[in-house]
């Protein structure tokens, strides 16, 4: 097995992705190239600058605490790959 870049391995694990060897090699090369490109951000004059999370900095509007949608359980369960007895089904977690 080829040696893995620890940063890539960590990010892939956090992102719940499991690239195969060929894909991992491509991702490693691409991630390095992207990080090289974004490295230029480090030289920006931002010592006194606050992060801008949202372009218009709108205040979050509040709305009345009222139920506006009824029971949507059946509607949403119908979209799931696997359901049973009104629940989502996944592989057993505990034996």
């Amino acid at each position: 097995m080829p040696q893995q870049d620890p940063a890539l391995r960590h990010a892939a694990a956090l992102a719940r992705l499991q690239p195969d060897d060929a894909e991992r090699a491509r991702l490693e090369r691409d991630l390095k190239a992207i990080l090289r490109m974004v490295e230029r951000l480090q030289a920006a004059p931002v010592a006194e600058v606050q992060p801008l999370y949202h372009p218009l900095e709108l205040p979050a509007p509040l709305r009345a605490d009222q139920v506006t949608e009824g029971d949507q359980r059946a509607l949403h369960l119908a979209l799931a790959p696997s359901t049973g007895a009104g629940y989502y089904l996944v592989p057993r977690v505990l034996d």
Binding site: H10, A11, R63, V90
Partner: protein, 498 residues
């Protein structure tokens, strides 16, 4: 197939019926659309013709709106009830949304008839439409070249005269760049002008929906129907929507003394020389009509792509965490345990570019890297936004190219993601700053269309459309269209997954 305005006139004057035009759109989608691969799914014929007949009856009763009975296509990122919403991903292949996007609902209520869902880069990540699970889209001007992305199917369908207009979304240029590369008009509104409810999320602080059409007039008609506050999207702005179509007529007067800034960083040596000449010629045309040109500086422009790459990737890694193979979307076969279900469903369900961005985004948000990359990019975003706003106080709008080159060849950049991201060098700044911008056809190089971009201050869509419309009164680039292919055997529209 005519544009929106001409189609509306035909319907109004009784020279055509919505039923005839809708059927024509479907037939063209199955023939030429199949060759371009610009549709992922098409409306069921009898159901959509029934809607068209109802539109004809409404018009006959005098109960129509200007858009009643006019066909359109939606990018396959908008949730629809009648058609599946795949976002061009295996992850959502065949997905039927329980909700309808506000944009879809508003255009439906305005009377438009949705004939199909257009191809795109998977989850709107791409600048060439080569990242679709349903295969690449061909540029109607040269099938060996890309149509741009991510709204490449919408731009190609409008350019090829398959449909009067289409919707798109723009996170880093995904309306404007394909509009430029296909020779159509595409508008990215101010962040908050159009509801994002029911649009599959890519990067929530950057995503915005808008129209692609033949002309500024068509874009104005669609935007007027799409825009406005929406209680289902708390980031929509409460101010009322301007009557964009009515405002267009004032474009001639509006140009008198209009201060147009030409950002030096948009017109430097990195721009294709012929594209640069065409943009300068377009600026001079507006100057001859009374506009005042001046060079301006956007000193932080060189950081825009880098900041965008970090922020968009971070937001996409968060948004796409919802695809876990449990509640909806693709699930792998026979996972041994829950961990494998997550890992294999996501690894098998996402394409290469989506995985690249999710991993990049996860990395820049992870402990030890967040401050160096993500927070730094957000600070640079403020520099870029503030500089745009300050420049737009000294000028009324900015003018430059939409894309550094005309359409490039398929395969030319796909193996080099950084080079691909640089395709959006002139467009991402508007998304970081939340500004509106429009791309209009401004000439040709080597037989391929070139787009001019106009950028305005927040909520200046009316001004942008006025100037774009006046430019189109003075030029005929937007009236050019690619050659019609020879009639072929009708096929089944819709791309083919690998």
């Amino acid at each position: 197939m005519q544009g929106v305005l001409e189609t509306a006139r035909l319907l109004e004057q009784g020279d055509a019926s919505s039923e005839e035009l809708t059927l024509d759109c479907l037939r063209r989608a199955r023939s030429h659309g199949r060759r371009l691969n610009c549709y992922i799914s098409l409306a069921e014929e009898e159901a959509v013709l029934e809607q068209a007949r109802a539109s004809d009856q409404r018009r006959a009763r005098g109960a129509g709106t200007p858009l009643t009975g006019v066909p359109l296509a939606h990018k396959d990122i908008f949730c629809t009830r009648d058609l599946p919403t795949s976002c061009a991903s295996r992850m959502l292949e065949g997905y039927r949304s329980p909700i309808e996007a506000t944009v879809v609902r508003r255009l439906r209520e305005a009377g438009m008839i949705c004939v199909g869902k257009t191809n795109m880069d998977e989850f709107a990540m791409g600048s060439s439409n080569e990242n679709s699970y349903f295969g690449p889209v061909a540029n109607p001007w040269d099938p060996e070249r890309v149509p741009g992305g991510s709204s490449g199917g919408s731009a190609a369908a409008v350019a090829a005269r398959l449909v009067p207009a289409a919707t798109g979304t723009d996170t880093g240029g995904s309306i404007r760049q394909p509009a430029a590369l296909c020779g159509v008009t595409g508008l990215k509104p101010t962040y908050g002008r159009v509801s994002r409810h029911g649009i599959v999320a890519f990067a929530s602080s950057l995503d915005q929906a808008g129209p692609l059409g033949r002309s500024a007039e068509d874009a104005a008609l669609l935007l007027h129907a799409m825009a406005g506050p929406d209680p289902l999207d708390s980031t929509t702005d409460p101010r009322p929507v301007q009557d964009y179509p009515a405002a267009l007529a004032a474009g001639k007067e509006r140009l008198q003394g209009l201060r147009i800034g030409l950002p030096r960083q948009f017109l430097d040596e990195r721009l294709d020389a012929r594209v640069g000449e065409l943009i300068q010629e377009s600026a001079r045309l507006l100057e001859q009509q009374g506009a005042v040109l001046r060079e301006v500086e956007l000193t932080h422009q060189d950081l825009a792509v880098a900041a965008y790459c970090v922020i968009a990737a971070a937001e996409c890694s968060s948004n796409l965490a919802r695809f876990d193979g449990v509640r909806y979307g693709y699930r792998c076969e026979e996972p041994r345990d829950l961990s494998e279900l997550y890992l294999r469903s996501r690894t098998e369900g996402f394409g290469a570019e989506v995985k690249r961005r999710v991993i990049t985004g996860t990395h820049v948000l992870s402990a030890g890297y967040q401050e160096a990359y993500y927070l730094q990019a957000l600070k640079v975003r403020r520099l870029i936004r503030d500089e745009f706003l300050q420049t737009l106080e000294e000028t009324d709008l900015l003018l430059g190219p939409t894309s550094p080159t005309a359409a490039f060849r398929r395969g030319e950049k796909i193996a080099d993601p950084v080079n691909m991201y640089l395709s959006d060098v002139y467009t991402v700044g508007c998304n970081l700053a939340g500004l509106p911008a429009v791309s209009v056809p401004a000439g040709f190089t080597g037989g391929l269309p070139v787009g001019m971009q106009l950028i305005g201050p927040p909520f200046s869509e009316g001004l942008l459309l006025q100037v774009a419309h006046r430019y189109q009164e003075l030029s005929d680039w937007h009236l050019q269209h690619p050659p019609e292919p020879p009639p072929g055997e009708p096929g089944q529209a819709g791309g083919t997954p690998p």
